[in-house]
Amino acid sequence: MNGPQDLGGQMGFGPVAPDPDEPLFHAPWEPRVLGMTVAAASLGHWTLDESRHARESLPPADYLRWPYYRIWFEALLVLLARHGEVSPSEAASAQVERPGRRPERRLEASRVASVLARGGPTERSLDAPARFAAGDTVRAVNMHPEGHTRLPRYVRGRIGRVEAVRAPHVLPDANAHGGGEAPEWLYTVVFSGQELWGAETDPGLSVAVDAWERYLEPA
C-alpha cells in the first residue's frame, strides 16, 4: 500500500541526528512491547507480513510521529483484536472478559532461546525455474496495490539490472492477507541513482532492492 511506511525519497524530515550515547530502550515500557510482540507472534495467528501490514495501516500522521515501539504496540493491539485474543475494551480496562483462544501455544520462557535462534526462514522450494538471470535488464512494475507489498514506490517503473538471483521466498503480498506463502523467486535488482532520482544525481550512487518475480518485467 502507498502508506506512510514507504519513505524512500521523501523530503522534509530534517537531519538524522544520531545519538552516540543512545540507550537501547528509551522508557521501561519499550522492552515490554518488544517482548510481547515477539511472544504473541508465537500464538501463530498472524504472519510477519500481516504484522508489518498492521503497522503500515496505522493512521499516517501517527505513524510518522510515534516512536517505533509505539507503532509496534498499536499494531499489536490491532492484531490481537482482529484474531479474537484481546478486545479493545479488555486492553483499555486490563480486565479479562473472555478466555484466551490459544493458551496452548504460549511461548514458554524455556523455549525463547531456541525459538529466537531458529527465527523464521522464508526460503522455500519451487519447481518453476527463475524467469530472470543475473545481468538481465528489468523494469520494476508500475503497480499500486491497496494491500501489502514490498516494492517501494521509488523504484516502480524504473529500469534496473538483476545483480543476483537469490532463491524462492514467501511472497509478502499474499502472506500478509491470508493468501498462503505463494513462494516466488527473489532477485536483487540494482538501480542507478540517476535512473531513480534524475540526471542531477550523484553518478556514483546505486541502490539495490530485493524484488519478488512479480515485481519485475523484462525491459
Binding site: 519513505l7 538524522v16 518488544l34 510481547m36 517505533y68 490481537l80 527465527g119 521509488y154 521466498h169 541502490v207
Partner: protein, 198 residues
Amino acid sequence: MHDLSDDDTETMTARVRALETVLVEKGLVDPAAIDEIIATYSERVGPKLGAGVVARAWTEPDFASRLAADATAAVAEMGISGRQGEHLNAVFNTGTRHNLVVCTLCSCYPWSVLGLPPTWYKSPPYRARAVRDPRGVLAEFGLSVAPETEIRVWDSTAELRYLVIPERPEGTEGWSAEALAACVSRDAMIGTALAVRP
C-alpha cells in the same frame, strides 16, 4: 522529533502494563518469556557478534571467502543464527565502493549479528534520505566518502539482511582478532561509519 513528554510516558506505561496483564491472565504470554526476550537482546545478541565476524574476515581470508559466498552459513560456524538473520548477506567495502544499509519500508536489520537497531535507523529522516542522498546522510554522521568512491545503498525490502564488512584500518597489522573487533562499531557495520583504531 520522537521525544516523549512525561504525560506520554505515563500513558504508555499504563497502557502497556494493561495489555501485558490481560495477555498474562489469559495464559497467552509468559512474563518470564518477555524477560528472556529482553535479556537476549540487551545482554547477549548485539554488535559485538558482528564485530567478531568482521575481525575474523580480516584475519582469515578463507573465512572471508565463505562469508562473501554464504554469510548465513559462515556466521553459523561461529554459533550465530536466528531471528532477523535467517538469510544474511555480507557486503564488503573496498577502495572503490562504500556500502550503506537501510530499510525504507520498516525497520529490517540484521538482529542476529547487530542486535536491535538504533532509533535513527527506524526513523523517517534516515529511511527517507539514505536512498536518495546517502552522502548527505553520511556527512551527518561525520563521515565523508571520497567523491570518486561509489556508494551502494542496500534497501532491505525482503528477508535478506545485510551486514557491511568495513575495510581494515591501516596500522593494525599483526593485531589479534579481539583487538581488531574493538575497531568495529555498530555503525561501521551499517555503513554510517568506518572501522577505526580505538
